[in-house]
Symmetry: C2
């Protein structure tokens, strides 16, 4: 049975009891396509983040215990991001995440894909921070621009058959 609530736009929510950000977003795609869009480095770089940046993979080793790093560039400079893939399965990624401009803030991210059974798949993402201050700092950072523009870009490359 398909769920009633649909998420054509990302819902970005602050958990009330733990320092977690949760994102929910539906795509016209299979779980395998969404995994590919997040694990193939060229595909991932093509859509992730706001439209104003372009991103380049520096390191990308998709396996339990592998690590990753990429650098995004806009008119103002470069922004590095890095982490490690703790777990990668057919429909789940658990990884660490650090924006290199704030090297002491490490979050633990979990991403999984739920087949809704009608040609759409729901992306579930959560970012666990070590304090509510860190979590609320991310929420106040304008992160929703990158999330929404990135997912809209992913919609377009799915529609174009590029994933």
């Amino acid at each position: 049975m398909s769920p009633t609530t649909r998420y054509p736009q990302a819902a970005i929510e602050a958990d009330p009891t733990v320092p977690i950000i949760r994102i929910t977003r539906d795509f016209r795609a299979t779980p395998a396509q969404l995994m590919r869009a997040h694990t193939d480095p060229d595909l991932f770089m093509s859509w992730v983040g706001p439209d104003s940046i372009s991103s380049k993979v520096i390191e990308w080793d998709v396996r339990n215990g592998g690590s990753w790093r990429y650098v995004s560039t806009d008119g103002n400079g470069e922004y590095g991001f890095r982490g490690c893939f703790h777990t990668v399965t057919d429909d789940t990624i658990v990884q660490t995440f650090t924006f290199e401009g704030m090297p002491d803030a490490v979050s633990l991210e979990k991403l999984w894909f739920e087949d809704l059974g009608d040609g759409t798949t729901r992306l579930h993402a959560q970012s666990l921070c070590e304090s509510f201050e860190d979590r609320d700092g991310w929420l106040a950072s304008g992160m929703e621009v990158g999330v929404n523009e990135g997912y809209a870009h992913l919609d377009r490359i799915l529609e174009a058959g590029e994933v």
Copy 2:
């Protein structure tokens, strides 16, 4: 100035507001000795965990983005643990941690060493879980036996000049 409170035994505390376990423990050692005791695989295997187990490193790559795995054995069987080293500096380790018997429970651990300036060093450890249920499950698991016996063993090998 030396702090008033001393921790010759580990203080294991549940944070009241976030799903974190904090451990504080003082050692007659330098920060460099405690780093070595946690990053040299043979040394680490020699003291970690309860006295009833012996442990063997399977994978050990101490660097930002490296991964680790070890297996502990007692009379009842084998227990695997794995994770990745997100950050390793002179006095800090940030890593993921999973007990392979509960593969979906991933915690983010931070360990740092504070020189108290009188020949002793304070170990600070925190384990961040994604829920209070997971955190409280760890606290109820008997983990203090492994923590206390392991650190007592570390005291002995420090005293013996083996670190």
